[in-house]
Symmetry: C2
Subunit: 544 residues, 2 copies
């Protein structure tokens, strides 16, 4: 059997190696446009920041070492230009000599990945303008920073990679601004979560400008300014990280079905519309594991799993790919962010009976050095109790919280399944009641009507307008709010007007909830807890 793999980063190398391992007698050939195979795409921002010091670390395997290890034939710097399905042949063109070569196959794996979008504006070819997609990009950016000529950088695109690059440039003492056309940073996070991170980044010298369109990059030979829909910004460096496009142009006349966004259509076995052709990684769309709907999730982690599954199917198994959850995690200037499953806005769009809870909780025993907070937002369906998704922000192990949620979502867990979990606890690692379980308890209290609250998103949208703000912190901290000691709020408490709408605010939400319980028992009918308290929300003075 002859197996041809097009593309040689994550999905392609994984598929090729696995096929050759399962079928040592097969002839497996990997053809790739790049000169490299198997490079550490997700590590590039950290090479810029000198966190990864050594250039060689970015290359997991050279073409030679990969071939030696696996027995796969590797052909580099050849770009696939056409697929002839009837003849089972692929034509590829040398990127150096332009000569063409034809490769035959019994089974074909398309793993050609995606390329960064070049914004359609003037000046993208100026010196000092870079992408962040290949080791060469990262090496060039670091060289420019190393030689000390970069004072100001503008990153175009406030997705995970753009923000990771911004963080790493800032760590090298470059003044960084990030612009994005979208109304928020961090696509895939809910607005209020993204806004929290925007504020955090601004406090840590990374300014983000959302709703800001790149209009041109200006300069004589070298970039000097970035013209935006808002105002011009001085810049010695521009990083273009404004999305990617699947490398599937060569399939146009092949008869292989594509989605409107250009990704390859595959079934649950990762097979295209041609049963002898599979597509995996950034060039293909798969399904969302929760909703079953089509999802483009161009991530290194899913690319690897997809490569492995296509390989197993080519080798005769019948393995279904369960799909992605949209999981993501990133380290950003002293704060980590993570998410999985549906966010609130996605969940509403999908028609779920959405309920959410936002919680600020200790990430480990509060007395243990380095303890900090997690901000956890849970999304669930109120009617079915189905757990739908989670977002988390914090200085600590957000990846842990995300991964527990991934396991729960993958098992289609109900919220009730996430109460009373025997999760690991010792003071260096967690809290006696696990932070995720605490958040689940809050969500359950909300679902059962025990807690009546206003979410940060609702508060931002004006839902607490006209409410009297009651400050229930350990010490008073809100200007113009009425301060009430929690210890004084006992059954029968009548220090406030019982019909008046009250907004109960403390640092995180816990003391506000405890007071609400007492107030309800004392006949208060209209007191609401502000979820996330002053830790998450900015409390504005109300004109009473």
């Amino acid at each position: 059997m002859e197996v041809l793999i097009l593309g040689g980063v994550a999905a392609g190398t994984k598929a090729a190696a696995k096929i050759k391992r399962e079928m040592p007698e097969a002839k497996v050939t990997l053809v790739t446009k790049s000169g490299d195979v198997s490079y550490a795409g997700c590590g590039l921002p950290y090479y810029v920041g000198n966190v990864i010091r050594d250039k060689a670390s970015l290359i997991v395997n050279t073409p030679q070492s990969f071939s030696d290890l696996t027995g796969v034939d590797v052909v580099t710097q050849m770009e696939a230009v056409a697929v002839d399905r009837a003849a089972k042949k692929v034509t590829a063109r040398s990127v150096t000599s332009q000569e063409e070569c034809v490769y035959s196959y019994d089974k074909l794996v398309i793993a050609t990945g995606a390329s960064p979008v070049k914004p359609p504006v003037d000046g993208t070819d100026l010196e000092g303008v870079y992408f962040m997609r290949t080791p060469q990009d990262a090496i060039a950016v670091r060289e420019a920073v190393d030689c000390g000529s970069v004072k100001r950088a503008v990153v175009v695109g406030a997705g995970l990679i753009g923000l990771e690059v911004a963080e790493n440039l800032a760590a090298r003492n470059v003044m960084v601004s990030v612009i994005d056309m979208a109304p928020q940073i961090l696509p895939g996070f809910d607005t209020e979560m993204a806004a929290y991170v925007e504020n955090w980044l601004a406090d840590h010298d990374i300014m983000t400008f959302t709703g800001t369109k790149l209009e041109a990059i200006l300069g004589e030979g070298h970039v000097e300014k970035v013209k935006t829909g808002r105002r011009a910004m001085k810049a010695d460096m521009v990083i273009l990280s404004a999305g990617i496009r699947p490398n599937t142009g060569f399939l146009k006349d092949s008869g292989i079905e594509l989605w409107p966004n250009g990704t390859v259509k595959v079934d649950e076995y990762l097979r295209t519309s041609d049963e002898n052709i599979y597509a995996v990684g950034d060039c293909a769309s798969v399904t969302n594991r929760l909703t079953g709907k089509t999802a483009w999730s161009p991530m290194g982690s899913s690319a690897n799993m997809e490569g492995r599954i296509a390989a197993r199917n080519i080798c005769g198994e019948q393995v279904k790919y369960p799909g992605v959850l949209g999981t993501a995690v990133a380290r950003l200037a002293g704060i980590n962010v993570g998410r999985t499953g549906l966010n609130e806005s996605d969940a509403r769009q999908q028609g779920y009976d959405v309920i959410t809870a936002l919680c600020v909780v200790d990430d480990k025993a509060s007395y243990y050095p380095g303890a900090s907070n997690f901000i956890i937002k849970l999304v669930a369906d109120k009617t079915t109790d189905q757990f739908l998704g989670l977002q988390v922000i914090g200085a600590g192990a957000v990846d842990k919280v995300v991964d527990i949620a991934v396991m729960a979502l993958s098992m289609k867990a109900k919220v009730a399944d996430m109460e009373d979990l025997d999760l690991s606890y010792a003071p260096p690692f967690s809290t006696a009641i696990h932070p995720l379980v605490t958040a689940v308890n809050v969500l359950k209290n909300k679902m059962s009507g025990r807690m009546d609250s206003i979410t940060p998103a609702e508060y931002e949208a004006g839902k607490a307008k006209g409410f009297q703000i009651i400050d229930l912190g350990k010490v008073p901290s809100i200007d113009k709010a009425l301060y009430v000691r929690l210890e004084d709020v006992k059954p029968g408490y009548d220090g406030l007007d019982k019909e008046n709408p009250l907004l109960l605010v403390c640092t995180r939400g816990r003391r506000a909830y405890m007071s609400q319980v007492q107030l309800k028992a004392s006949g208060y009918t209209n007191a609401r807890v502000l979820e996330g308290g002053t830790s998450f929300n900015t409390i504005e003075d109300e004109e009473e």
Copy 2:
């Protein structure tokens, strides 16, 4: 309604606070033998090590602050001595004045916890001999260390707390030995996992002596020597951490049913044999979530959950406690250990068709600073594919790996459910294929017969006796083994005797597996991979 809570650390305070919150009109009284409530029992070893600097951090709430916050009446230094179920009354005796007092109840919660076992040998009352159960214990130990008089300490008991204390004493430059009667340290871990940690600790100046019985503590007034079944050890300090016993003596004549180990019998609602009496925390046995069998799991984390569930049931809900998984995690001298579910030996005892895999995998992108290894051991049932348990050792986030497994076990996941999970990945956090998924893939390869291997436990037991050791490392590292370059092992390879039993060994197991695939295809019938390679196993020279 009158609710009486006996005991005021984790389970007791949690139950009391929740009941008072749910039923503000109820009279909730908490009676405890100690002068403190709600202290950080799991933090005590870290106070000894000066990791937790401040004494006040050990006290989560004082009796007064707890009472102010919750509305619960708190009575300290009163020890329950009898329960009269017919009259619904509890008699308690003052630990200072010996005066007795009677408390009535409608509902009673027993949360009296457990006390350290005092070994029945001479010398336990000498100066310099301590327990590690209360803040006073930790404060006294640290004072002794602070004043510089402690050069050598012996810890009796190699469970988690004993080892945590040992680590913290070693960090204070005390020479520490740990002795335990049991044949291994870390009860609940499989033998070979415990042995690995024993070796690690020895390399980090903590000597453990297993199978070693405490015979006496010797000294004139102050401890000078510890006499053991093996030999005497000089010591200025002895920490007794050799198990705990439930504080249930006062229930002897109450008619409340106890287990032979003295813990209180409860049903799935945490109700005792008397429907008005609940028992929670270290004094009660619950069930194992996986097997449904009775389990005593005296941990702070489950105590909190049990307190909460008993409270909900007393307040009128019908909530079942799903039980524990035996989850545990600890930081030990630069290495972390964690476990959940059944270990191999438990699983065999329970009659499962046990299969295991031991894997050494990167804990994050290998090029990222601080990257290290996880040693992951998975236990599953081969017939049903049910996932049964996990143990993990590593410098990094073992708690994350454990917690994903906890979620999986709680959902009764099959091993197949743990393949292809969309877990979080970015270089600072994990690997593109998640370490747990890699381990699952190895287990699956073993289950499907793709990989034929010898486990470290089997190797230790002599199963590879007579095998020719083939060193497949990147560079030769095993004396007297035949070194073979993986790159040379191709289809048709005939450099070795095809019928000879071969033990394929590399650093971790991956290269050995890759070579096995090729060797099988070349007609080798008797080559086995050594799981965990030289990272985990000590390879002994074979006499051929």
